[in-house]
Symmetry: C3
Subunit: 398 residues, 3 copies
């Protein structure tokens, strides 16, 4: 994208109503208006364009981006660091193992103590149903109160880097990939996307990816099908969101217990393993009670249950049934690839390999999506500021 | 604070004799002259004012701040990172677990090897009596020698982030909070501050906080009372410092074994748990001998000993006996709050909660205090440099 | 070095043919031409000179330097961070323990996922024979492919921070120390350097240091002698490289099983412990098979074998036999010093101490060598860019 293209996007941005995002958090995509979602995509594309044109988008001369990962992470960690760094923030990890948090202090206290110079806080907390998003809201309320009470000069912005309910940086990156793949939002009405469960030899994968996908992709007039074996239900609240979204956008949301039905004539397929909501709830309770034997037993039970559905795998045969036999295959990565990372997994190696580069590009949007979320939460007049950055023309790379 | 206020502080600073701080370390407050202590407060306020006015105080275009934490830490870690980041330094943690230090190399060698591009080294080493401060001095001597011998181009500055003797970044932040709370140093003469031991269900908390408080707060003409049960003595050398300070400043330093006596008519109370000097010495020896059974036995002994003093807790009843029943309650955080973080702790929940915001503000000074320590150790003509930064007017946030 | 000196070095640089280094990796010194090696030394000296003159060499306004340490490290970690920071890159560590890499994803995938905004990747992977350098090449190929396929906007550069074959950042820093010690490359022809095995009470030290030294130091017309007891052979491929280099440079490469013979009339001595190639190969196989008992047995065997050669130690007596009794003693640090870090080690304390400052200076080149490797891999017209940085004159320290 050249400078003219960037300026056109800035003009598009200036027609959108995104000002409410300022000093606000990004926790669930369905809390954001259509304009706000659009603004996030647009700013992401502008930031990407500016970087490609070697124009710095550094808006912070100093300031911290705090990261808190309550689950292992490579790509999200690097995406968050990349986004912060692009804007001029230094990442400081809150490593709960090295901290005094076990000492019994409250979320409110920790949130304030780490935020004296923090402009953004990114949290991944996806392991326990009913906990992660709630924790993020506690942190957000705490820093808001700290700001109101004069403790914090600036109000750090929360970015949900994956919780028990949604994975907005993932679904937004996925969606931006879809938009670019199909040449624009205007081409998406009526397109069929299959968000399908798939077999994996591991257990307990978060529900936030399928929930994030059905909660977001239903907003663009698409025909969204959620497929899974019985017993792998997602949160019914998110299904309600998807239903409402579909009605509003003129699209469709349906469910099926047949992978084949979901794939039939699909334009996009997203086969991926997850644990059922009920299982995640049980696990959360067992952890809460410290019942380690119970957890081991549950793990065995779930793995056995998974094995009943080893036929839920994305094969060439299934791909052939999609629209023109050439649906866009998507995954949040890393995938369980049959014969590569495991014996039997979510996808056949040849399917994965054919879409490998596409998936890497899908992932490449995430740093820009996160940077856009931060930017819009920090600058009420983002369009003006972006134009000024363009005019400033400081090179990223001298 | 507006720009005029900042300029006034810069003029105040220029009347002080702080030049000796340059290329020097900040290890114990009582090694610093009254002017140097004043300069540190003044620079901290200036840096805070500049940040509030969105003026960058970045003096480093590149350079490292090295952190070495030999004890868990959240707030001090974030304060140090915030301070370094504010001035333009990137923090690199020296994680002894991931290093080759166990390999048997000397302090002198490690200190030089990590310092080729280090402008500051912050160390927390508070666990073993007689060790922490000594280690810091070894590091300081090592990098001074390295600089003199032509190994290190610049001489990194040491900042004591808590040792066995003092906790200067804490006591200086505490003191700046007191100064602001009472409207200026000139209002402190004769004010009574009670630094009191308090019961906690944990054991082995460092002595550096009470020692830091009596070593610093006695310099301002205040009436400082140290209260603890028999057997919880602090280092006698620091008591001597407090005595000397009090005599010089026209204040008072006294000791008592009664919490009630200390609180009576106090303007400020600082109730906090610590281990006794004798116990810390014993523990240091046991660790030195690798006597893990001995350590476990000592821990039990100390916890039992603590339980004899569960009445040493900051209650509403006690608070009512302070000056006008409204002494300023202080704590370095995290506190052991009865009914919140433990069953019985250092303070009643209602007292803590009433002063919660005040305590968060108390903590908020720490990053600026650390930044001021670094600034003064780096810039002989700090007043001029700060004025030039103000004139430069680079925004922190574009 | 003053500004005129720096400009002279820039003119020297502009006569060299180094353009092929751009968008390329630094994996083995012997893959680089004589001009490229010279350019690396020259840029290192220029960057050092600029820092001494308080001139910023920051060429990145944003961007990540990714570090991956598969072995403990202090000095290399700090050197890499220092180098990245000097050029404006923020280091993000890829901690495989905290990542999802165990999840079974491929090197290709991880390499791309961490590189969306990475300008350089530094890897230390020196534990297993036949693995480390191969891994680095896999990463390099992966990011090259990612760049070619449009996944990565920029192509991150690989820097070998120590592998099973070579340790180029070490040997280049060592060599720059030699050049400066002897007053220029032109004075090195015919100088004798003894790279000698030495006894250490530890086991399994990498071969990359001696291999790096014989693979590089043979390129300057020096007389390079490799000495070790029978059974401590290095990789024969590297010996072949050394032989070829010596022939081309008009120098000499010879081997001996006598430390005394190597030291006789030497101008430089580099006594250092290493494990034999055969032992490292055996260990690699045992780890591959997860045979922990076998590893323990091997460790005992190797330590016993080492003990047969306790007389291989750098004594004052041996030093007296070197050229004028004053050979330059070198070590990559940390050294096993008899009576200091162990009972019997690689070197007598008095020898080590006499050359201590020299060794610290030797180590001080490493950050600049790494920065030079990155610079040349990023800027085809490095000479012009350095001149522009000099003209820009941004101070490193305001």
């Amino acid at each position: 994208m050249d400078k003219l293209g960037i300026e056109e996007l800035i003009r598009d941005l200036s027609t959108l109503d995104y000002q409410n995002m300022c000093n606000n958090d990004f926790l669930l995509t369905w809390e954001k208006s259509a304009d706000e979602i659009s603004a996030t995509f647009t700013v992401a594309e502008i930031l990407r364009g500016m970087r490609e044109q070697n124009i710095s988008s550094r808006i912070f001369d100093s300031g911290l981006g705090v990261s808190l990962f309550r689950d292992n992470s490579t790509r999200t960690r690097f995406s968050f660091t990349s986004a912060c760094n692009l804007l001029g923030l230094e990442v400081q990890d809150l490593d709960e193992g090295k901290s005094q948090i076990a000492h019994g202090e409250t979320v409110r206290e920790t949130a304030n103590m780490i935020s004296f110079m923090a402009d953004v806080i990114g949290i991944r907390d996806d392991m326990y149903i009913g906990k992660g998003n709630t924790y993020m809201r506690n942190v957000a309320e705490s820093v808001q109160a700290g700001h109101d009470e004069g403790v914090l000069e600036q109000r750090p912005t929360l970015v949900n880097l994956q919780c028990d309910i949604d994975h907005p940086t993932q679904s937004m990156a996925d969606m931006l990939h879809i938009i670019n793949h199909f040449g624009g939002i205007e081409n998406l009405a009526g397109k069929k996307i299959a968000m399908s469960w798939a077999y994996s030899p591991s257990y307990g994968k978060p529900l936030s990816v399928p929930q994030g996908v059905i909660g977001l992709m239903t907003r663009f007039g698409m025909d969204v099908t959620l497929a899974h074996p019985e017993g792998y239900e997602v949160m019914s609240e998110v299904e309600d969101v998807a239903m409402r979204n579909a009605a509003e956008s003129g699209g469709n949301f349906s469910k099926t217990n047949s992978m084949a039905e979901a794939f039939k004539d699909a334009d996009i397929v997203y086969p991926k393993s997850w644990a059922s909501y009920a299982a995640m709830e049980k696990r959360t309770d067992l952890y809460g009670n410290g019942d380690m034997d119970g957890i081991k037993a549950l793990e065995q039970e779930l793995l056995t249950q998974n094995k009943n559905h080893m036929d839920w795998t994305c094969t060439e045969e299934l791909m052939a049934t999609t629209h023109n036999g050439s649906a866009l295959y998507m995954h949040c990565l890393p995938a369980d690839i049959s014969g590569v990372s495991c014996e039997h997994g979510e996808v056949e190696a040849s399917v994965f390999e054919r879409y490998r580069v596409e998936q890497y590009k899908e992932a490449s949007y995430k740093p820009y999506i996160i940077a856009a979320m931060i930017f819009l939460a920090k600058k009420k007049n983002s369009a003006d500021v972006l134009q000024r950055l363009l005019d400033r023309g400081t090179p990223r790379f001298f």
